[in-house]
């Protein structure tokens, strides 16, 4: 297995900059997710690692060895495409054995390998079929088998679950994670689904507009979003963020509807040094609680109920707070009526403040 390193990699398509000066370290033997919305450059980044695209600038290293100018077939990688790209005119057996046949391995070795990997992925009964005769989930396994059969040093996955239905996606998600841990292979997984990235990856890399927004373990990225984009892209529903007025007269505070929040320590200092009239205030929906009478610990806001969506395990309450729609995850027993006045309570350490111009998290600057 190898580690992958990108050094100041830029990729342009004509005048479009798909990947912009990216520095990235992908750890050996771990599961790394490249997470971003469509058009963010995450697939381009994957294809750069695969060697399908050449970087306009920058270097790509495998275990410190420069592979920037190597062709895909010289990099020993496996890639599962979003549409699987199975060879439609070949049976499953021939699809899986194709990389080994190209490598001119002996027949008996190929046969053993193909049956081994097919058994591992539970597709050994499908070897005589054509791809068109398989279900989406089965095609996905065949593509995975074909990528794994030559024992690549890096496994690249381009949204492999996005063509499957929701139930199957959950099932294969956990299987794929287990498979990666069993094989100990370096895996890079491209997805636009933040829950997939959080659930599967050891390391999450959030990308937008061709630039890495944040990288870290799932917990870190979720709890301490570096900027507004990460906070509002990760989480289901994502973090609530809205502009609030700043009051620096006595001590640095932000004015909330029906209350105010005066941070302490370093955050207070940064709010003061920022010297702006408004900032962005944010919190995660599950961090807040709802009350009919205001409580006196934490941060208090007033709002009125907009909709209530019971989901069985929890209830998502959408509230109107000073013209902004805010979502709060409440216990399943929560009831209420539309336009009811309620108080939102957010623990002080869960509140986030962002610079309105740079959109950076004030807690993490420095």
């Amino acid at each position: 297995m190898v580690s992958v390193q990108l050094v100041k990699v830029t990729k342009r398509f004509g005048s479009v900059v798909a990947v912009n000066n990216v520095d990235l370290e992908i750890p050996d033997g771990r599961f790394t997710a490249l997470l971003g919305p469509s058009g963010s450059g995450k697939t381009t980044l994957l294809y750069l690692i695969a060697g399908i695209y050449r970087p306009t600038r920058g270097k790509i290293l495998f275990d410190g060895k420069d592979v920037t100018n190597l062709k895909p077939n010289e990099r020993n990688i496996g890639l599962v495409f979003q549409n699987y790209a199975l060879y439609p005119h070949m049976k499953v057996y021939d699809n899986i054995s194709f990389p080994l046949r190209l490598a001119k391995k002996p027949k008996s070795f190929i046969d053993k390998k193909v049956r081994e990997i097919a058994a591992m992925l539970q597709i050994d009964h499908l070897l005589d079929r054509y791809p068109a005769q398989l279900s989406g989930g089965q095609q996905q396994r065949v593509a995975l088998a074909r990528a794994l059969v030559k024992e690549p040093s890096v496994l690249l996955l381009d949204e492999p679950l996005s063509n499957l239905d929701a139930m199957l996606r959950l099932k294969i998600r956990s299987e794929l994670k287990r498979l990666q841990k069993d094989l100990g292979i370096t895996a890079i997984y491209v997805t636009h689904d933040q829950s997939e990235a959080l659930a599967m990856a050891d390391k999450v890399v959030v990308i937008n507009n061709g630039v890495i927004q944040q990288e870290g373990d799932p917990h870190e990225v979720y709890r301490n979003p570096r900027n507004v984009f990460v906070a509002s892209f990760i989480g289901s529903p994502p973090a609530n963020i809205f502009p609030v007025k700043v009051d620096l007269v006595e001590e640095p505070c932000v004015i909330l509807p029906g209350g105010k929040y005066c941070p302490k320590g370093i955050l207070a200092e940064r709010l003061k040094n920022l010297g702006k009239e408004t900032v962005l205030f944010g919190f995660r929906p599950e961090d807040a609680t709802l009350h009919e009478v205001p409580r006196h610990d934490g941060i208090i806001m007033e709002g009125e109920v907009y909709t209530i969506e019971p989901l069985g395990r929890e209830v998502i309450v959408t509230l109107k707070v000073d013209g902004n729609l805010v979502k709060v995850i409440a216990p399943p027993t929560t009831t209420g009526r539309i336009s009811q006045r309620v108080y939102i309570n957010v623990p002080r350490d869960k509140a986030m403040l962002f610079d309105p111009d740079t959109e950076k998290n004030l807690r993490l600057i420095g």
Binding site: I52, N73, P99, L102
Partner: protein, 305 residues
């Protein structure tokens, strides 16, 4: 993915009494064609000229046997040897197969480039190809002949001139077919997803392996259609063969034309000539009967810009 268009084409477009009217109209329109062909084919198996449905005739293979023996006249005098007749059929096959090979080689590679690569003048030259296709081959003859004459006189030793003329007629005839073939094949290549080729590269293959193992198998219907068109073009060609092949090298087309033109029509026994004509038409009829659906798919699915 590939061939999805096929299923849509198989459903009937018109149903009920309307379909009977449609079939009736089509029959009426194609009646002259059907009559002409069946007259020719039946005559080749008859002991007399079958020019209308009331002619009484006996079924016989005599015309075909006489044709292969080279006995073309009513007197059954042997005008050609069997060897000469076979040679003439062989020449037809050589020209047809040669044109097919050159058209396939030329158009498959260029169509792949047009479909897969970006370069200057790509769009412009694609349009130019269409213009070239619309240009009649006859109009080019003077220029093509000039090239032929000068290269032949200047560079080709006398003993190789027959060989060169075959080479030349194949190349010249093929180049008339290549522009349209590129368009047809490009449409097929465009339908092969990039990921399939990348997949081969990832699996350890070269660009050429990807072309051979992932792309070519998927454009087989297009290749087959282009091959058929090219073969027929070579098989049927009259003018290019007549002008560029030496007079002693005939193909079926120039042979029949020669028989009809030289005034030997009066002396030729027409049922025997009907056998020659049927042989000449055979590939066309067979190909169109057995590949109707393929051709339909090519025309509806292959021609995309």
């Amino acid at each position: 993915m590939m061939g999805n268009g096929k299923n849509e084409l198989m459903g009937p477009l018109v149903t009920g009494y309307k379909s009977y009217i449609l079939i009736g109209v089509l029959l009426l329109v194609s009646l002259p064609l059907i009559l002409a062909y069946s007259t020719l084919i039946i005559t080749s198996f008859a002991n007399t000229i079958v020019s209308n449905p009331w002619v009484k005739f006996n079924f016989t293979f005599d015309n075909w046997i006489a044709f292969f023996r080279g006995e073309l006249s009513t007197t059954h005098a042997r005008i050609y040897t069997t060897g000469e007749i076979l040679r003439m059929i062989g020449n037809t096959v050589i020209v047809a197969a040669g044109v097919t090979a050159v058209v396939l080689g030329g158009s498959a590679t260029s169509a792949y480039a047009y479909s897969r690569m970006k370069y200057r003048w790509r769009k412009g030259s694609l349009k130019l190809l269409l213009l070239l296709h619309a240009f009649p081959g006859v109009a080019l003859i003077v220029g093509v002949y000039t090239i032929y004459y000068y290269t032949l006189v200047k560079y080709i030793p006398p003993q190789s001139r027959t060989l060169y003329s075959f080479f030349f007629v194949i190349l010249a005839r093929a180049s008339l077919e290549i522009p349209m073939s590129i368009w047809i094949l490009k449409g097929f290549f465009d339908r092969v997803p990039w990921e399939l080729e990348w997949s081969v590269l990832i699996d350890g293959g070269s660009r050429w392996t990807a072309f051979r193992h992932a792309v070519l198998p998927l454009v087989k219907p297009g290749i087959a259609a282009v091959a058929i068109f090219a073969f027929l073009a070579g098989w049927e060609d009259l003018i290019y063969v007549m002008i560029f092949l030496p007079p002693n090298q005939k193909t079926l087309a120039t042979f029949i034309e020669g028989q009809l033109a030289s005034g030997s029509l009066e002396t030729s026994y027409l049922p025997i000539m009907a056998a020659a004509g049927t042989l000449y038409l055979l590939p066309t009829i067979l190909f169109f009967i057995f590949t109707q659906r393929l051709l339909l798919e090519t025309m509806s699915g292959g021609l995309k810009g």
